[in-house]
Subunit: 765 residues, 2 copies
């Protein structure tokens, strides 16, 4: 029955993608479509004194002009409703949309926004999260405690703190007291961008009844429907969202990005569709970034390396609006102590507004910033105690049935094997025999690290399957193909259960009008949640097929075996009918059979959003070999071993590709990428010339492997893994650099000049 | 729970329709769309000697050229696969598509088809069905017995007879022998056209994988998917059909019309969409018409008027291709004896190819042609026996539990009440006191008639409902709004069951990729079949809501009442939660609830298509008052009483509007409409100048009423009625004319000149 599960089948979207036929966001073209452009704030914090639209309204070809004044009371945001579609009264980051224009063509729209005159009254700017916490810091959102919000969010009135989340276990002070050594360190990580190759876009149209339709590369159509409906005070069904293929998401293609501007314009465009495609500069400035974070970590250990107590204080720089920042804070903070047994825990996250680009979901949802801290510190501890870094980790690592740092017994824990596999692959035990300096004078070092991530809990997914009379099968879900291979995975699960060939499958496009509810294509949840929903739907079909066969055979359904595309009498296997014949015999006039599968973990029903422990935890480990040129500080990762606990892989090749992609992604974050703002909140490098992302030339030899720690509730034991595959790359590289040249960099990215300066400083000492 | 059922709520599509926003077939516009035109045969029967495409291929702007030679082995047809998408080897009717061109614009496409040179070798033409039956008649389809076909079709080799269907009960010869009087009459009906205001159209596109998508005003997307997939030898899911609103269907907007031409072109158009919109001439010549029929009816009666035996022989002129002709023949022939108790029956229908436009489904599916015969003859019998026409009918009429002429016990039989209601409304009993000549010298007459129609059996429908967390409800079905009000009816049923307001409803557009299977929006089956499916889906939701409430209340589901948008504890009504709260409490992170409903009558499962007795029968009666001007023969229907048995009306206003529309429709057929061909098969009046349809000016005062004979299997007792409302208009008018001026016309339409000639002949005698 599971013939296809665990097999490296070819991706079902391969032909469409390689032929260029796949429709991504910017490919959407509708007849009569207008082109929209936003006028954006040049200031990071300012009051809007006046907006003069006289000139723009006179420009031929302009069809709609809109400002925040047209949308009173419209505030969007999944966790906290704080963000106007277009600035209302003030702007809070450079690039915030202030007005927008829709015109007959893009050139006219571009010309038009230059005709809008906005008078600003500049306000003091806060671009540092720690500064934003200080008494007397300029308030970015006055009255933030009045925003509508989900229950888990705890804003601090008259401050810039939109939420504080705290987790305790045991007595951390007692734990420190009992420790032989206590380590206190601070690690910082920078603002980075998802940098998808496909820019953000949306096409919106409002019909005669006021119903809104949005097309675009949004990773979560049902979430976007709710975000738009809630913000605009509409019933859910008054909004329809149709998701295209997504050309790179990594967390940045959900929620309200290009969509609010397209919708605001569409509402004034006399029922014509309006298309908004962001420039690369807009993508960098005005979509979403990953939180810069300041992590202060204090750990008490026994002399033998056993962790006793850990306190982690995180300040999350969430930028100008909440977006998913508060849930990143609440969810990631719970993972801040790492995949270790620690009896005494205190974790505290503060999510802080600044006058910068909005931060939110980014592959790992805050956990990579934490692994950067706790794993770097593990190596500091190992060095101080004279214990091998791998050995220190293995002494403390979480294993099946342990209670995790936030007090929950855990299941499906493959992290020990991940560590062992990467150690084996990189040659950890033999590394001391490796030449430490290359012929070119570059110093060689090794590093190892591991990490963990939780998933959004609770959440729900529903799937429908239509089995047609010729055995073709349509998978009807709102899961979005963001490049992660979801269509292939769901097809393998459905066909695996039903015993049908992969080529029989087609897909209904994600559309809130017709595909059943799905929470989101985020949080590495789709294989687990939608995988379960599709599996249940396929099992529902099998049950119906058994009943149908039983009625044709004249027996009980439990005497029928359904598998491999056929149903037969268990005691007379020669009495056997393929699915098409079954359906044709029973429904001679034509009918498909619908299978339904709903997955919303039973244990989570009745609980509020984000108030439960994670349904599953992901684990991975990385070991790297680096070469550092002491003359320039340049770091090259030459070999990288990576292992991820996939529960059970539905498609091993897909999982290995995720591991490879994640490794290169994380090398970019570790060594190259940083969005830089000046002290006035102006982003200085919002383009691919100045913001470098890794290319194939930056990719090391990657030794990827899988660990199987099947999850009892995952489909065939599978669980998510798309995010965890970046998490422990940063600290592994950081420690390998120290291993190579003796300097430890504590703030990402580890650029050549930082290494070079640190080397110079260490020489000068 | 049924608060909305039976209420005359406003149509849910009213705003879209009156504002002009509704998208009909010709409104579909896609970016990059080409425009397709077909070159059509000027001959009704000819061999294609050669097609020269050299000139057309050189015309700038031409992007695709296709002929039948490009599509070997492609034959379409629901019941009989006999129709090429483009003529192969020979043409069989004037207007048959021979080649097609897609170009950048419509003007180029029109110019292009004129550059195609076709050499024909003309063949003898048969335009009369009786002549086509004769020995030695030219064969229109050589080897017709080799066509793939459904089991009910019985072709006669080496003839033009594509099927013969026969029904017998008792011993008809014995019945005639026992009769006091035997009547033998022949009645003919003409070829008429559905004449929808919206012309036929289709847009087709073929993706990089060869998958075909078709948009258009097709009444049965799943049927079209199957028709196309079967013809092109594709798996069902390799075709996707999305139906728009239909601007008038009446049976003529199903199956393969503009679609094969659009698809044939799209397959050569390098993945660009191709739009084909028929001209009015093409609509008349090359879509579908209603069968002309020759009905020979022989009836034996006792002196008291009791029907003893009836033999009906029908020759159906099905035109050049089978389309739905053979199933019209099989289904309608079963209804040929009328809604009467007749012990001895012999019914025989022959479906005959001719070199004329293709005949098939048309509101009533053959039964109006039959009612024209059996009801006209009832009045001949009444006159001869000296029995009042109403009285004669009431003596013989079918009542609940009777066995119908084809031997099946029947249920839900409102025809007696229909007759009584129309008699009452028109003043039947008092008609003799009515002045027989008006002041203008016009002669007044009265007629009464009734009729019956069966429905396609078996057939299946499936529906899904999504109940969202704010109480909005999406109805997901493939039922097509052809103007009949299906969206309103389904919304009333869903909201009626769930106790939700109508404004909470939205609709998923009919789309074979996402809306569950539905056999067709034909045969007056949608209220019954899809109505049941939607009702079951709503009940499924209520069951789930009860379980959900029970888990929240901590009780058993059977202690919970779900109604009016709320669930409460039956013994503590104050413990009550509206649906949104229920869903929000249980699924705090968001989820909709899916309800599913599948209806395929249990008794029909395991049976072949069209081989079962009708699941339900429809009944109606009409009484008319006419004025005939003896100087000109001109007939005016001045008053018309109509009653239809609706089972139970879901929306009485909608039903009354159907009755009114049907009456005017049928007046057109009775008095005005006829598609005329010359002896070479050339249609002489394919336009609205020469083919007159009734306008509001031709509408009489209509006295419409409903009869409720609830059907035990219909949703809330409802059954279909859209087709039956034309059936008995023709004979009622025919008999009223005889009542007025003493002449009986036996061939439709009853034009002024026919009446004038008949009057002159009767005077000359």
């Amino acid at each position: 029955m599971e013939a296809l599960v665990g097999k490296p089948v070819t991706r079902v979207d391969a032909l469409e993608k390689v032929s260029g036929a796949a429709v991504f966001g910017p490919d959407v073209k509708l007849v009569g479509m207008l082109y929209g452009k936003a006028l954006r704030s040049p200031h990071a914090h300012a009051r809007i004194v006046s907006i003069n639209l006289d000139a723009v309204r006179k420009l031929p070809g302009v069809r709609a002009v809109v400002t925040g004044a047209d949308m009173p009371g419209v505030l969007g945001g999944e966790a906290v409703k704080d963000m106007p579609f277009l600035a209302q009264g003030k702007v809070r980051y450079m690039g915030e949309p202030v007005a927008a224009v829709a015109a007959e063509d893009e050139a006219t729209a571009l010309k038009a926004i230059e005709l809008i005159e906005v008078v600003y009254d500049e306000l003091p700017v806060v671009v540092d999260a720690l500064a934003a916490l200080e008494q007397g810091a300029p308030l970015i959102h006055e009255g933030l405690e009045n925003y509508a919000r989900i229950s888990v969010i705890k804003p601090v009135p008259k401050s810039n703190v939109i939420t504080v989340n705290e987790y305790t276990k045991g007595d951390v002070e007692h734990g420190f007291h009992e420790s032989d050594e206590v380590f206190e360190d601070e690690f910082r990580s920078q603002t980075v961008h998802h940098a998808p190759l496909e820019p953000h876009s949306a096409v919106a149209q409002v019909d005669v009844s006021g119903r809104i339709v949005v097309w675009g590369p949004n990773d979560s159509p049902h979430r976007l429907r709710k975000d738009l409906a809630d913000a605009l005070h509409l019933r859910l069904d008054r909004v329809r969202v149709i998701s295209t293929y997504v050309g790179g998401g990594f967390g940045g293609k959900g929620g309200l990005k290009a969509e609010p501007i397209a919708v605001a314009l569409a509402m004034k465009a006399n029922h014509r569709p309006v298309k908004v495609v962001f420039t690369r500069e807009e993508v960098f400035q005005a979509t979403l970034v990953r939180h810069a974070a300041v992590v202060r970590i204090k750990t008490g250990v026994k002399r033998d390396g056993m962790l006793m107590a850990r306190e982690v204080k995180i300040v999350w720089d969430t930028g100008a609006y909440a977006e998913k920042g508060p849930t990143v804070c609440s969810q990631a903070t719970a993972a801040a102590a790492g995949p270790y047994r620690v009896p005494h825990i205190h974790l505290i996250g503060q999510c802080v507004y600044t006058n910068k680009a909005i931060a939110g979901a980014y592959r790992g949802y805050g956990t990579p910033q934490l692994a950067w801290a706790y794993e770097s510190q593990m190596d500091i501890i190992a060095k101080k105690l004279g214990i091998d870094p791998l050995e220190l980790r293995l002494r403390n690592i979480l294993r099946e049935g342990d209670v995790n740092p936030v007090g929950h017994p855990i299941h499906s824990v493959g992290v020990e094997d991940c560590l062992k596999q990467v150690a084996q692959a990189i040659g950890w035990q033999e590394r001391q025999h490796h030449p430490r300096v290359t012929e070119k004078g570059r110093h060689v070092g090794f590093g190892i690290a591991c990490g963990t991530k939780n998933t959004k809990t609770p959440s729900g997914s529903e799937a429908a399957l239509y089995l047609c009379q010729d055995g073709s099968l349509t998978i009807v879900t709102a899961s979005v193909e963001v490049g992660q291979g979801v269509r292939t995975i769901l097809a393998q699960i459905a066909c695996g259960v039903l015993g049908l060939p992969m080529e029989n499958v087609s897909f209904s496009p994600p559309d809130t009008d017709s595909t059943p509810f799905d929470a989101s294509t985020t949080s590495s949840r789709t294989t687990f949640h939608m995988g379960n929903a599709v599996k249940f739907a396929a099992e529902d079909l099998k049950k119906q097929l058994a009943q149908l066969a039983a009625s044709l055979f004249g027996c009980d359904a439990n005497q029928v075996v359904v598998d491999g595309g056929k149903a037969w009498l268990s005691e007379q296997p020669e009495r056997c009918l393929p699915y098409p014949e079954l359906l044709q015999k029973q429904y001679g006039a034509g009918a498909s059979m619908m299978g339904r599968g709903f997955y919303y973990p039973k244990s989570e029903q009745g609980r509020a959003f984000h108030e439960s422990p994670s349904l599953f935890w992901m684990y991975a480990a990385h070991a790297v070999q680096v070469e550092v040129d002491p003359k320039t500080g340049r770091v090259e990762v030459t070999r990288l071993a990576a292992a991820a606990d996939t529960g059970r892989p539905i498609n091993p090749v897909n999982c290995l590709q995720q591991i490879e992609g994640g490794a290169v992604h994380a090398i970019g974050t570790t060594l190259m990428e940083e969005l830089i703002v000046d002290d006035q909140g102006r982003m200085v490098n919002p383009n691919f010339h100045d913001y470098r992302i890794p290319t194939a030339m930056d990719a090391p030899e990657i030794l990827a492997s899988l660990v199987e720690a099947p999850h009892r509730e995952g489909p065939f034991g599978a669980k998510g893994m798309a995010e965890i595959v970046t998490t422990s790359v940063f600290p592994a590289i950081g420690s390998a650099i120290e291993d190579a040249v003796g300097v430890r960099i504590r703030d990402l990215p580890i650029t050549s000049d930082k290494v070079w300066r640190a080397l110079r400083e260490s020489t000068e000492k």
